[in-house]
Symmetry: C2
Subunit: 596 residues, 2 copies
Amino acid sequence: MSMIVNRRDLRFQLFEVLKLDSLLAHPRFDGCDQAVVEDVFDTAETLAEQIFLPLAGPVDAQEPMFVDGRVQQNAGVGDALAAFAEAGLFAAGFDEEFGGLQLPNSVTLAAQGMFSCANIGIANYAFLTIAAAHLLSAFGSDRQKQTFLPPMLEGRWFGTMCLSEPQAGSSLSDIKTRAELIDGTSYRITGSKMWISGGDHELSENIVHLVLAKIPGGPPGVKGISLFVVPRYRVGADGDIGAWNNIALAGLNHKMGQRGTTNCLLNFGEAGDTIGELVGEPHNGLKYMFHMMNEARLNVGSGSVMSALGGYLYSLDYARTRPQGRRPQDNDPSTPQVPIVEHADVKRMLLAQKAAVEGAQALILYCANLLDRRDIESSAPAKARLSALLDILTPMAKSWPSEHCLEANKLAIQVLGGYGYTRDYPVERLYRDNRLNHIHEGTYGIQGIDLLGRKVRMQDGAAFRALLEEISLTVEDTADIAEVAEFREALAASLGALQSATKDVLECSDLPRGLANATAYLDSFGTVVIAWMWLRQAIVAIRTEGWESDCFYAGKVAACRYFFRYVLPRAMTDLALVASLDDTCMNVDPQQFIGV
Amino acid sequence: MSMIVNRRDLRFQLFEVLKLDSLLAHPRFDGCDQAVVEDVFDTAETLAEQIFLPLAGPVDAQEPMFVDGRVQQNAGVGDALAAFAEAGLFAAGFDEEFGGLQLPNSVTLAAQGMFSCANIGIANYAFLTIAAAHLLSAFGSDRQKQTFLPPMLEGRWFGTMCLSEPQAGSSLSDIKTRAELIDGTSYRITGSKMWISGGDHELSENIVHLVLAKIPGGPPGVKGISLFVVPRYRVGADGDIGAWNNIALAGLNHKMGQRGTTNCLLNFGEAGDTIGELVGEPHNGLKYMFHMMNEARLNVGSGSVMSALGGYLYSLDYARTRPQGRRPQDNDPSTPQVPIVEHADVKRMLLAQKAAVEGAQALILYCANLLDRRDIESSAPAKARLSALLDILTPMAKSWPSEHCLEANKLAIQVLGGYGYTRDYPVERLYRDNRLNHIHEGTYGIQGIDLLGRKVRMQDGAAFRALLEEISLTVEDTADIAEVAEFREALAASLGALQSATKDVLECSDLPRGLANATAYLDSFGTVVIAWMWLRQAIVAIRTEGWESDCFYAGKVAACRYFFRYVLPRAMTDLALVASLDDTCMNVDPQQFIGV
């Protein structure tokens, strides 16, 4: 039993639920069929399992150190990334013109997931590089693409995103990093950037920082932010690596988890000139950066799912082999103990993990599939609809796993009991790794405001309506399936509650009050969406001949039932709270917390 | 602002809500009044803050190592415990005849809580010693008391509880450790004990292990378990320390948190004879051990509350001083940023922490007060009722904090954002520390079965009825307070739902099905009890003249409102699930989890 992937489930999600075959029929994916996808997965699984996974414990135990101005870390990190590059996985999703395989996003994301599960601390370097390369391929000049993309897609140069500063984390309008024009598109960059994952290391020949900075004289706030590509080593006209670009590592953050990834405070332009190049137009930097940020958000959601998958697989394997206790009706201590997977409460903890992991995984792959469909869509209105669906689902795809798949990791520890609390087993590390996902790339609270303050309102509610239509289509599609009547009705009821709560909030003339429970809104909306994902899976399972006697399909229906009975009702409770426009939190006087 | 205690809240809980004055009027507490209690708290706070707290980070970073057969750990651990002993805190709750101060349990538990908050990894050694001494004072022979209690209460000898074995964690009926009679009450002990906190170290002159073992020929299962006192070094007739008792440290567990406390695999009688003395009667060991276990369970609950209190205080302090972002209605980036405590979602995270911490703290102190009242109660029926209340509340006092105060720790990290995920701030450590409390001294699942399978059924439901009566008294007591009408009605409704769900389960003839959702029952029952604790606090607050303009009392009412609106409704949802006798979890076939 693999500890990093359930290939059967991936096949189900991609080919049975998302019907990837129909996407692959598009000319863009010429030559790519299910066999090719399985080959890619074989390669990824082997690499992730044989090279990334064995390093997960050591890399966690031996975190990067800042010694004599350089980062020292486990030598295996570089080797693993070299193997990832060697397998062509940096380029796999890129166009053939850049040496890529032009694979669909849903396939590359699923393949990357195996590395997330095996060792997120190493995999992050690759994902950041891929996301940075995507941004440059979308918004960089031809010269920038020619200069940066080949070495990035060969895995020789890595990428980062430099947004936050010590005084400006969630509030990007307050960044202070400055970019002063030298000539043409060359700028002198000065300032400090905080929380930069992969910000410094000795793993690649160069590091390509994508940096948000303000050009003096520009508009205040986020409208005055521009984007710059700022390499660690300057790059000559021929693409050769030149002098150090005076980006100083001021410190490494010592994290609770995801320790393989360096996380840095970087000072630009302190020791000497740091030269960056403008990407795109001045003052449009945040818009470009959102291209990378949305990909990063999907990656965060996926990483969270994969950390939880690791916990689920490990705790399932443990539960099957650990004998402890007897059935409630069996009091005879002379009988043998049963494997704990026989206990109802252990089954509950496993089913809860399965429901969270496979439900959230379905959403991540659904979003990746939306990206793929959008990329090949020729009709403008259809493309806009796919974009709108992505826009509204992204905050949920980022956030829901970070809350509910973290809970799954907590349960994985619990299945192992005391053993789970020790570092001899991977479940506590996976829990620590996953805790980050609530925070980076926009916290839970920020995603809630993005969803309720912006996404459901934009274009007069077009994205919200489009999503409700999609969900309603599934509800209608199940009318003939008696086995899912309970779920269909519950999903329809939750859609009604969601619409009603949304209306109540949007009609509230007091903006702060309307947004006061945005986090509860995000969370419960996400749960409704995951319920939808489970109904989609259950339909496919039940429409399969002989599903009742097939463990895989019967398991899908059991997890769907669990989700609708144990999880969705809580979202209904929370939606009622949202609809009540409760102001308890917004009105509490900060002096009242302690009261002395 | 203290980071380890809210003294104002302690005063409120003990003297305003629990009316400790009336307990202190009893002759047993002669000479102890509120001033004495405050003096004890002053001493505890100073020690905890000045000696325990500064060591929390270092002790976490530098975990105990097993070097040349001995435990090596941060030298400060021993110094801190010596200071704890010097202040007389080992003995504080014991009778004067043993050199104690005869302080009430509620006072000693509250004082100990400051050490839990400051540094649970060190405090555990003291708490285990105190609980072991309590067991010996209740069930030991006079000679055993004379031998062991004085050095334990002087803090020179420490104590442990040795229950689990590698093959028997939750299932004590399967322990294999043997005790063979040598003569009189002396037994030769052989076997391995796992997860022994404080099982080995160089901090005390001796270690007094309380060991569960089976005397060959005894009944099978838990009915054949006896209790032995087994010192690390044998003790002569004069109480002098003699030869090593052949208890070998076979390994240290490397934990996720609470790292200051060694956690050991111990081998008894492997290298030579390990001699133990029987405590009490043969085959009654589990009953005696439950005396210690119930105290340990209350300590675990308290420790969980205190880890969350640390997170709450720290994140509140951070939120008050960290500027970030602006109010929703304020888009002008040239205005100064506001402290994040002004944001509704940050207030939510703080209020959620306050509601969990102060609600659970109220339950812990309520239980300690029950212990105190039971100890001085002369009427047998009244004593039995207090015991019954303690019996039914203990699984909730142990479990509810481990779930909901852990969630509070998660929110404390979230308030700090990226900073909270680093080891430069204490909130991630407190989260790791707290994760243990779900597991040890009976897991969440075990507590659920204890509550639903045993406690609510015992004596024909007497404990359950007694608790409902107590809660109903509070509901009736609020009839004249208009401000709490909403809470009173919600609590009454939740009591109804609880009664009804309990009836449905108890009437179910299928035992496994009735117990299948025991964990959800435990959790939602606990939430109803904590709601009661909040209503009790709100009544006292509102009955105080001028409460609306007093931050402390107004804060109590705000937190009560939060709990009733944001937390209790979820318990209602879960109680409906329990009442439905849902069998999704118990019926899932283990083959269906992965399905391949």
